[in-house]
């Protein structure tokens, strides 16, 4: 059964220095508040895993929490570049950042393999591209029945996973709905997990299209209303597209970013 905790407790118990950690959420339900708490608690040497690093990892990278990024699409959606990510890769600021680059299909299958307790996944992917030459976690694999050559990627076993959901009940059963991304897989791929929720309710009402994570498969649950801002939680908030645009200017300049960081700390 999940432990119901404060955000600070949840982060302290879930995300440790040196962890391979995923903060997942595909545009929707991105756990920003938990990431800010990670910044406040001064975590270091994280290997950050996420299909779309988005602003959340631009912030963690700029704050010096990360040593490596595993990802498949690193932009500010609809706006442009992730400047802190680029500054780290190109100028080692504030610390050097190693990069492991995949495609969405590869990342999704790596989560699935880890959630399934398998060491690798198989897909039709990457072939004919220049990615395998740069990423040593992409290898050919031969079908033992047909002889066809496909692509294997290793499971994304995580030390910790953090996701945001709309609701949990008092036993820590979690329900999220709307676009659900790879959150279930990330939680199931991790040794430790933290789910921040908009609301803790007495009883979960089953919803169409909902993903349910039983409390016994979740580590910690923390009630953090608005915890996905500037992304959104369907039924609770709308996406703050303005902040995504503003971020371009904040993140472009180290000084402006450091001022923003002061506000978080």
């Amino acid at each position: 059964m999940a432990r119901i905790v404060s955000l600070a407790e949840g982060v302290a118990q879930t995300v440790l220095d040196g962890d391979t950690v995923a903060f997942e959420g595909f545009t929707h339900l991105i756990p920003f508040a938990a990431a800010h708490e990670v910044i406040r608690q001064g975590r270091r040497d994280l290997t950050l895993v996420r299909m779309t690093p988005d602003l959340i990892y631009d912030q963690l990278i700029g704050a010096g929490c990360a040593r490596k990024l595993v990802f498949s699409w690193g932009g500010n959606p609809g706006v442009g570049s992730l400047h802190r990510f680029r500054d780290a890769v190109q100028h080692d600021w504030p610390v050097p950042l190693e990069v492991e680059e995949h495609s969405h299909a590869g990342m999704a299958n790596r989560y699935v393999a880890a959630a399934s307790g398998l060491p690798f996944a198989v897909l039709r992917g990457y072939r004919g591209t220049d990615l395998p030459a740069q990423t040593d976690t992409i290898k050919p694999i031969t079908c033992p029945f047909t002889g066809e050559v496909l692509t294997a990627v290793p499971a994304l076993r995580l030390d910790s996973a953090v996701v945001h959901a709309q609701q949990a009940d008092r036993q820590g059963n979690v329900q999220l709905w709307g676009i659900s991304g790879v959150q279930k897989e990330a939680v199931l791929a991790a040794s430790r997990s933290l789910v921040t929720v908009e609301e803790i309710v007495d009883e979960l009402q089953p919803r169409p299209g909902a993903v349910v994570l039983p409390g016994w498969a979740v580590g910690c649950v923390a009630e953090v209303p608005g915890g996905a801002h500037p992304s959104y939680a369907a039924g609770y908030s709308v996406r703050d597209n303005g902040f995504y645009q503003d971020w371009d200017e904040i993140s472009r300049d180290r000084e402006a970013f450091l001022r923003w960081l002061e506000g978080v700390r």
Partner: protein, 250 residues
């Protein structure tokens, strides 16, 4: 019809590439605009799949992100991201994949990763692959949409993020691709299609008011022009009206 921009022409022409009843894998930005324009004009039964997991989304305004709530609210089904790629894209259930590009080369290979320098120390770091490599591999056909310029239209991309025809005939087959690959590149100046023998993209359509010399100037390889070079029909009144309404509402 007069008084429209080159970008509007490009978007309208992209929408025309989508036939009624087909299934289309859509990225945010111009592909999404073109697909929703098609849905409101000649292809009301177009099925839109966004990689966020919305099958058959029917947004009544342009989504602002690939995970816009309007997509989930109007979809026939909302599924997880692994299922999008594994059950729907990979087996070839999608008719048309719409891709943008930072660079495209004469064989239709796409680069959205790095420009200049090398991979570890590039001149420009781009967002990366996203869903594109597998869209390019598995959709029955691919349509590439981007503004034409000498920097973007290159002889050989700096990095192959998504395979077009590789170095020429036979490459897709050799790599076991199940989809037919890029069938057209739609730009603000015209349309290019692959020569079936060489797999090199040749100019097949010039948009209204565009000179051939303009296209050559903005192409980084020795451009071949189709003997059947055609003028793209102008946007219709209705196409422009609907496009502008869509844009204004978002």
């Amino acid at each position: 019809m007069t008084g429209y921009t080159a970008d509007e022409m490009m978007t309208v022409e992209a929408s025309r590439a989508l036939r009624e009843g087909t299934v289309c894998f859509v990225g945010i930005g111009l592909p999404s605009t073109a697909a929703n324009l098609a849905r409101r004009t000649h292809a009301p039964g177009l099925v839109l799949i966004y990689e966020s997991g919305t099958l058959g989304a029917k947004p009544d305004r342009l989504p602002l992100s690939i995970g816009d709530g309007i997509l989930a609210e109007t979809a026939d089904a909302v599924i997880g991201v692994p299922e999008v790629f594994n059950y729907w894209l990979q087996p070839g259930r999608v008719d048309v994949g719409f891709l943008g590009a930072a660079q495209v080369d004469k064989h239709g290979n796409i680069n959205t990763t790095v420009i200049g320098g090398d991979y570890r120390d590039p001149k420009v770091r781009l967002p990366g692959a996203g869903g594109a490599p597998e869209i390019a591999a598995s959709c029955k056909e691919v349509v590439v949409v981007l503004r034409q310029s000498r920097r973007a239209f290159v002889d050989r991309v700096d990095f192959v993020t998504s395979l077009g025809f590789g170095t020429g005939p036979g490459d897709r087959e050799r790599f076991g691709m199940t989809g037919a690959g890029p069938r057209r590149i739609i730009t603000d100046l015209g349309v290019l299609q692959p020569d079936p023998l060489t797999c090199e993209f040749v100019l097949t359509h010039l948009h209204p008011g565009v000179e051939l010399a303009q296209v050559r100037e903005n192409t980084g390889w020795e451009l071949t022009v189709s003997p059947d070079l055609t003028r793209t029909p102008e946007p219709t009144e209705r196409e422009l009206t609907v496009l502008r309404e869509l844009k204004a509402a978002s």
